[in-house]
């Protein structure tokens, strides 16, 4: 169990305790204290787990995970962010999925642990929608787009054969997932395995995360497009995602304001939320059984704010990468 951590003294205790409370106990929990300036290492050590610290900070989550991977001797390797906790049976559920032949990785359902600020609420709806609908459809066709980096388990042999997590893009989880597909291996999404990360609470933190994700996606498309073309369903999913991140984002950001000005009707801006009832269907399909109906309804407006900001970040990333102004500085964010 690899837990990369940089200045996570406040959250890492919860993560370790949730790992220690699993129905199937991990062989070893290794916290990689990647040059933290706070008490991350001490907190982890006090809870009885192995703590390793590179002499020089690796500068990225992938680098920290690779540092620990060299010491892994178990059949399975799990990576979990230091600000993420798990449902008690999460590991058990993922292990069951990895029993199937050809499956090299499995990932779970992500739900924000705290849902208070605008950004947390927006992310809550985004995850509920994406994990209850998109990801389950992708899994049916055996091509989940990403085995999320915050909580995924791998067969160690496959992971090591792929050289661990690459640092060539800012989305090492997507890079690894697509590399596994290109090598003919399978990835599974297990909707019953829940994890709860702490999502960005402020715009400053959220913007760093969105920048990393958007650049990471474009970098992976550039890196893998030839290989992805050979993977059925994934190629279509990536193409529509790329379209939505580029041209659809332009239309989304510009068309409605232009129409509103042209027809002198601010009602045109209702177009931004016209899909709200449709979005609520998959969100409520998860929220109602979890008893979170009110939270979901109250969080809906925040989603539209996040979606608009997300569109801006994707467009900036696409143009930056196309113009050769790539962004490769890893900034913390789950």
């Amino acid at each position: 169990m690899i837990v990369p951590a940089y200045n996570e003294a406040e959250s890492i205790a919860d993560t370790i305790r949730s790992l220690q409370a699993q129905t199937i106990q991990p062989g070893e929990i290794v916290v990689v204290d990647d040059g933290s300036s706070d008490e991350t290492g001490a907190v982890a050590r006090a809870l009885g787990v192995t703590v390793v610290r590179p002499q020089v900070g690796t500068g990225s989550k992938a680098g920290a995970q690779n540092f620990a991977l060299s010491q892994v001797g178990t059949e399975f390797t799990m990576a979990i962010d230091a600000d993420t906790t798990l449902a008690p049976d999460a590991i058990e559920k993922l292990l069951a999925a990895l029993d199937a032949p050809g499956v090299a990785a499995a990932c779970g359902f992500v739900i924000p642990r705290n849902v208070g600020t605008l950004w947390e609420r927006g992310r809550y709806i985004e995850y509920m929608f994406a994990f209850s609908f998109y990801k389950q459809v992708q899994d049916y066709y055996e091509k989940p787009l990403i085995a999320s980096g915050c909580f995924s388990m791998y067969k160690s042999k496959s992971l090591i054969a792929h050289g661990g997590w690459e640092t060539r893009t800012l989305a090492e989880d997507m890079d690894l997932t697509w590399s596994l597909y290109e090598a003919g291996e399978k990835v599974r999404f297990v909707p019953e395995a829940f994890c709860y990360p702490i999502e960005p609470q402020t715009y400053q933190f959220m913007s760093r995360q969105l920048k990393r994700w958007s650049h990471g996606f474009v970098q992976n498309v550039r890196l893998h497009w030839r290989g992805v073309l050979g993977v059925p369903y994934l190629r279509s999913a990536v193409a529509v995602s790329l379209w939505d991140a580029t041209l659809a984002a332009v239309i989304y950001l510009l068309l409605l304001p232009v129409l509103a000005i042209y027809f002198r009707s601010p009602w045109m801006l209702l177009g931004y939320v016209i899909d709200a009832p449709a979005l609520m269907i998959p969100v409520l399909a998860v929220a109602i059984p979890r008893g979170e109906t009110k939270r979901a309804l109250a969080s809906m407006p925040a989603f539209f704010v996040l979606r608009t900001v997300n569109a801006v970040f994707f467009l900036r990333a696409v143009f930056s990468e196309l113009l050769g102004r790539g962004f490769y500085t890893y900034e913390k964010g789950h």
């Binding site: 998109y134 997507m174 073309l229 990536v238 379209w243 027809f263 002198r264």
Partner: protein
């Protein structure tokens, strides 16, 4: 992490359709498993997941429909909420606000994206297959010849050496295809063979995507070969990556500072990168050390001319244009346009235009337009142009307008060349007043340097002004256009294009779609011949003054040639000849009739940045590609302009 924008664009539709397809896919899997024992180990279908996702997808569709219905009902009750669109819905039964046409457009877009992915996959597969097949066959032949040579040639004791010799002989004989296969075989046996890497880079010099990896590998295998870094630098420059190209030349000069080819090549790449000043300085330094080098002296002159042109090109400039045109219907157009432009940054240029225009014939329309435009060229292969402005139509006080709506006799002043009557045009005389109309365009052009690949996307809004009736009826064209040139070989390319737009006039709206396809070939670097087929169709007939056939087809052979003299004089010729036929609404498609057109433009440089331009344009056709005034039409125009760099 997530990718894309959940709920927006075609992604949502893709997953809804994927979910709806799940039961059918699952049933297929079940049937397949029953009939194929080899699939017995496949995991069973998760029917619960299938029906759950299907239910969600159907719920999403139902929610979208209900939202559109509720909005439609709301807008029918409060039509003022729609502002400028009020008149189009008031008084009607409440429609669903989410239009079927919008859904069809989204579905069509998604299909195009998915088809493009499949085409890309097939192209990639066929290339790989072709390369593998050719390499395999030729490799086998090489192996065979090497085996035969084994007993005859001392070097034959090394199969690799024999193959390298054979590949080199093929290369020297000029058989590029066989040389590629032969060196490909060498490389398969010895992945770091420097000769093979360098030769393959040279053989693929017209395809930077293939040559660059070869030269990169070569420079990593032989890092101290200045020619390797030069070759890599040239390939990078051909790919438009000048910064990296110059770094490679820096390295080449570090390795071989006294090598003349390195110095001259470095200067040429500097010039192409827009650093002609540095190139001149470098060459002057070289010439001072090697005074007898005539090629360096010539290159200094070339770079100085480029420097002068670049400075003039980047300098603020004024351009004045006078235009006059007329057609066989008696319509005449006159305009005077002033343009001023200035460079904002290294890659952004601002332009502003102001024009006075008059369209005269049966009626008379006077109008003015002004625009502000920004052209951004962040890299040499990409250009973004944005123009926004306005047209101000005026009432021409010197002309007596009819008091009521008038039917215009389409034969104008009696030229009457057409063979069948054209539909009448009605002038909405109440519109002959001063009015401001917004115009603009957004265009993105991607053209890879050194290739014929081109993507040209454009959105525009413009006032049709070919005749005064069009101006007075305020016929505005709002259009999306796309053109793509896909290179098949170095000389041949496939051309495709599509345009879709609305023609909105006072009291009337129409839509026009146009599809274009053909093949083009470069006869020389400056001349192209293309065979093009184009089909245009309108939604319905019109009385607003433009010709709107049900369908019009044009098959045309076109040529485009640029002839440039050493002194910079440039002649551009664009001519076409072919056949054209059309069908009006309610009529069958007519006979093919000949169509001719020619455009010629001459640019005469007076001094750097200042030039005189003259252009002639002429058509002879049943209908024109844009908004013709009739069914048999001749048109000619001439323009004269002068561009003056201000420093």
């Amino acid at each position: 992490m997530t990718a894309g924008l959940p709920g927006v664009g075609i992604g949502g539709m893709f997953y809804v359709l994927s979910a709806i397809a799940m039961p059918f896919h699952a049933a297929y899997r079940v049937v397949k498993r029953r009939h194929d024992p080899g699939l017995a180990d496949e995991p069973p279908v998760q029917w619960r997941l299938v029906f759950r996702q299907l239910a969600i997808a159907l719920g999403i569709v139902a929610a979208l429909w209900a939202t559109g219905w509720a909005l439609g009902a709301l807008l029918a009750e409060h039509p003022s909420a729609l502002g400028g669109m009020e008149s189009t819905v008031s008084g009607r039964t409440a429609p669903n606000a989410i239009k079927v046409s919008a859904l069809i457009l989204s579905f069509g877009t998604m299909c195009i994206v998915l088809i493009a992915v499949q085409v890309a996959r097939l192209v990639l597969n066929s290339r790989q297959h072709k390369t593998a097949t050719v390499s395999g066959v030729v490799g086998a032949l090489m192996l065979l010849s090497a085996s035969i040579a084994n007993g005859q040639n001392a070097r034959g004791s090394s199969p690799l050496g024999a193959r390298i010799d054979a590949a080199e002989r093929t290369y020297q004989a000029g058989d590029s295809a066989a040389a590629v296969a032969a060196y490909g075989t060498v490389l398969a046996l010895d992945p770091n063979n420097s000769r093979a890497l360098f030769r393959l880079g040279q053989l693929w010099r017209h395809d930077p995507k293939r040559s660059l990896p070869m030269f990169r590998r070569y420079t990593s295998v032989v890092p101290n070969d200045a020619w390797g870094h030069m070759a890599l630098g040239d390939a990078l420059a051909a790919d438009g990556n000048f910064s990296e190209a110059l770094r490679e030349y820096d390295e080449a000069r570090r390795i071989a500072p006294k090598e003349r080819d390195v110095a001259l090549g470095h200067a040429r790449v500097m010039g192409r990168a827009g650093r002609s000043g540095d190139a001149v300085a470098l060459l002057q330094k070289w010439s001072a050390l090697h005074p007898g080098d005539s090629e360096a002296t010539r290159e200094i002159d070339v770079q100085r001319r480029m420097l002068g042109s670049a400075r003039a090109k980047h300098a603020p400039a004024v351009e004045l244009t006078a235009f006059s045109g007329g057609d066989s219907d008696g319509n005449r157009s006159y305009s005077a346009v002033a343009l001023i432009s200035a460079q904002l940054t290294d890659y952004a240029r601002l332009t502003a235009t102001a024009g006075r225009k008059r369209s005269a014939g049966f009626l008379d329309a006077l109008y003015y337009d002004g625009t502000v435009g920004l052209t951004i060229r962040p890299v040499s292969s990409f250009r973004l142009e944005a123009v926004a402005g306005a047209v101000r139509t005026t009432r021409n006080e010197s002309f007596e307008y009819p008091d009521t709506a008038q039917v215009v006799p389409r034969t104008g002043r009696g030229k009457g060349r057409r063979e069948q009557p054209a539909p009448p045009a009605i002038v909405r005389t109440d519109s002959a007043i001063a009015e401001n109309l917004a115009i603009g365009s957004l265009r993105a052009v991607w053209k890879k340097p050194g290739t014929a690949g081109l993507v040209d996307l454009r959105a525009s809004q413009a006032l049709l002004d070919a005749t005064p009736v069009l101006v007075i009826n305020r016929v505005m064209r709002r259009e999306l256009a796309a053109r793509v040139d896909v290179p098949l070989t170095r000389r041949f390319r496939v051309r495709g294009g599509a345009r879709a737009g609305s023609y909105d006039a006072i009291g009337e709206s129409n839509t026009r779609t146009s599809l274009l396809g053909g093949v083009a070939t470069s006869v020389t670097d400056a001349a192209e011949v293309a065979a093009i087929f184009q089909q245009i169709s309108f939604d319905h007939a019109t009385t607003s003054g433009y010709f709107a056939p049900r369908v019009a087809q044009l098959a045309e052979l076109v040529t485009y040639t640029e002839i440039e003299s050493d002194s910079g004089r440039l002649l551009i010729l664009d001519a076409g000849a072919g056949g054209q036929r059309y069908a009006e609404f309610g009529s069958a498609v007519g006979q093919w009739k000949p169509v001719f057109r020619v455009m010629a433009e001459l640019r005469l440089p007076i001094r750097p940045g200042t030039e005189l331009r003259g252009a002639l344009d002429s058509y002879n056709s049943q209908i024109a590609s844009e908004a013709a005034a009739g069914t048999s039409w001749r048109y000619a125009s001439a323009s004269l302009s002068v561009r003056i760099a201000l420093r």
